[in-house]
Amino acid sequence: MHAALLAFEQPTIDYHALAPEIVLAAGLVVVLLVDLFVDETRKWLVGTLTGLVLLGSLVPIATLALEGDTRVMFGGGYVVDDFSLVLKALFVIAGYVVVLLSTTYIEEGDYYEGEYFFLLGTSVLGMVMMASSRDLVSIFIALEFLSIPSYLLAAWRKRDVKSNEAGVKYLLLGVFSSALMLYGMSLLYGVAGSTLLVDIAAALREGADPIVAVAILFVVVGFAFKVSAVPFHTWAPDTYEGAPTPVTAFLSVASKAAGFVALITLVFVAFPDQKEVWQPLFWVLSALTMTVGNLLALRQTNIVRMLAYSSIAQGGFILMPLAVVGESPEAARDALTAVVTYLIVYAAMNLGAFAVVLIVARKTRSGEIASFGGLLQYAPGLAVCMTIFLFSLAGIPPLGGWIAKFAVFKSLLAAGGGWAVGLAVIGGLNSVIALYYYAGVARQMWMEPVPDGDDTPIRVPAPLGAALVLTVTATLVIGVLPNIVLRFGDLTELVALP
């Protein structure tokens, strides 16, 4: 035993499987070097390059997906399966859209450009790693990898007190949640004697120990901070409002998705037999998150804060299937489909909404919902795009959001039983509440007069326009032909075994 521990065996490294990470890491080093050597007037190169690096990493993701084999590395701690590939692609594309959203903002705001894009790319790399992690250590490293750059990014408007507040709040609560999670992980290691998720699952199968429940609770709560589930959401609105808007978009879409990916991995691979511990936990978190998020969103007058609370509420929806995962293998499968589908659709529509907010704010210099008044009069295209995103978030067919909500409801009803149906009803009521504030923004754009009568047209910078086209196309196409994403979401299982 002792000797076995000491002996170091060179792990075989599957370079093809790691290619996306390698492309990203190498590319980001190049980005950093380029940043050192270009002068101030040509800093835009850095952003473009980061975008290209992100797109470049899609190539190995695509080749891996076409090959279709599951690749397991490091004794089962790092896995490349369909699930991880779909999410890697999602993170990379979402990262690319955020780069598009940032380019003009960072350029015009007179902020550090090179470092910004480097940190953004690093955070995406952390997410890409998260999708493959099947080991407590690699999960934790991926989490910190994606979190630490985003603490910095949140405080990027360093001359603005609110942005500083955003960064500090995010940092403090983020570190606090990491500590909680680490404590839970240490308990798990104590019980299982291994950090591999499969080993933990095997160890936990043998018998219930109260300590296990505590450990699971800590780990789940740690991630609940990350996905801003109520009551662990308090950092989110302030951070979202204070952070630069593209960063807010990034946090509310990509970071949140990464948190969910970790939760799913843990639930499916590490704790499959402890459903009596985490199912009620997710039930309560989900019901609270969507209800509180929605009720608070109703009261917001600032569009970013409104989107912050809406994103909290959407998180509650994504948590819903997790409350029934353990009921049956079919329920687990449906839940996995639902969560992955939701994450994909949510990324498209939420990033799109932020794109419009960014474009409009360039003109109005305001974050108030009232500043959207009369948008249809002077920028009909933007108004229609925003309408599409908002009602997609509300889940109105034929816009993308409906299929995500549908998948969630279906997974709940597939599990059946009073608790599942009860949660579905709470979810249904919440969709109606949510519609009210989404429609409130649409009302401003369509039915209210232009504030100050200033109806000069809006110029849309090319990168933002590209982001808008991408997201609006995705939102519409997914809504009409849901097969496109549901096929990716239709994952039979999470591969874990070595």
Partner: protein
Amino acid sequence: MEHLTQDQWALSVGVFLPLVGVAVMMFIPRTEEQLHKLVALVTAAATLAVGIYTLVQFDYDQAEKLQFYVNERWIDVIDSRYIMGLDGMSLPLYILSMVVTLLVIVYSWDHIPSPGNPKAFLILMLVLQVGMAGTFVAQDLILFFVFFEVVLLPMYFMIGVWGGEQRKYASIKFFLYTLFGSALMLVAFIATYFQTGAESFSIEFLIANGSDIARTTQLWIFAGMFIGFAVKVPMFPFHTWLPDAHTQAPTQGSVILAAILLKLGTYGFIRIAIPVLPDAAEEWAPWIGLLAVIGIIYGALCCLAQTDMKRLIAFSSVAHMGFVMLGIATLTPFGFNAAIFGMVAHGLITGMLFFIAGSVKERYHTLEIRRLSGLLKQTPRMAWLLGLCTMASLGLPGLAGFWGEFPAILSAYNPAAGLPEETFRTFMVIAAIGTVLAAGYLLWLYQRAAFGEPTEEFVHDHHIHDMVLPEYLAWTPLVIGIIVLGVYPNLLFEVMDPAVNVALSAFGG
């Protein structure tokens, strides 16, 4: 089940053709108002042409079968397919939606409501048409649901942007009510899917297997569908969005709302809720009948209390849809036939009434009944038409309204086996009283608005003129429809009856 697969493109083209017009209009600048109207008009006309083609190609000897049947892959993961088909129950409503959209666009030629922007207005109208036509031909629950919801957004904006004083309140109320209903409806759909073995969302499949669902489960699922459809119809007590939406909507919106959108709810009952869940339908039928007759009386009493012409017509819709629902509640072929006829007739008549109300409002800038007087003197032709429509609406024999109302009442005399006969006969009596009240409020309206001398304030108003060309063009087909169906109702009954019998086969119909 056998299907006819002639011209498989016909329904898809008929449903989605308006989107071509929308795509064209998106690239035309907003200032080209006439061009927008022209494109919309051509699109709607082309859509109707496709509709007429289906009307011609429809095999009337096999009206009980789904025709122009398409069954393609759509969403594999949830076993939902792109299934479209048209039988005798769908045909009248499908064509009606196309006709009404075209007429509304014709009417819009010089009646774009304030604040203008025909581009947005007409684009929304065409999108609305996609949802309406699609709902009537979708043969898969998820497809049905998507089309059912597609109409929400355009209607919300149509009321909210182009509506009256209270438009913001009315539009969001409409939206929230309908969304609440459809959320429950969706849950019921998914529950049906799981209860029938999670195999398919095809309506035919569910009809074949739905009756195996345990009775108590059926009752719950039916309740979900019931609320979804009842909000749309709307049935008492879910109707409170309707008077606001109708009154505040622009004329075109009111017409479409009355003529087509309300029928999505009743159609849902006869196409989905009742055939799929026959046991639950039987259990629920007396309650539906009760709510229907309450709606008839309540709607009529509300009409008597209205001082605004448009609001009065809106409440009369509640009453008329009560008759339709009473016919449906009997679960007999006779009642169903009456109900579908009632839907079409109500679409033509109430659509026409809202058109006239809109034109009156445009000329007099008010719809307050006591300020209107002597329409017959100032705008004789329009007032005559108003007369014809009120007569049709109160169910005068020889006009279309009669064949919706009278058979519905009659059908309650003999409800399907298993339903309480006395209860339904009581309903019949109450409904009959409702027709008397209808005559009361409609004649009273006509008397106050059309007879007498024009009031002081309008008598010298030179802006008040009789009908203009777009009004003639938009209204003539509706009037012809009202008269032809009134004189020869068999035209419709013949088409519907075979399909109705199939829908009710679970009840020994």
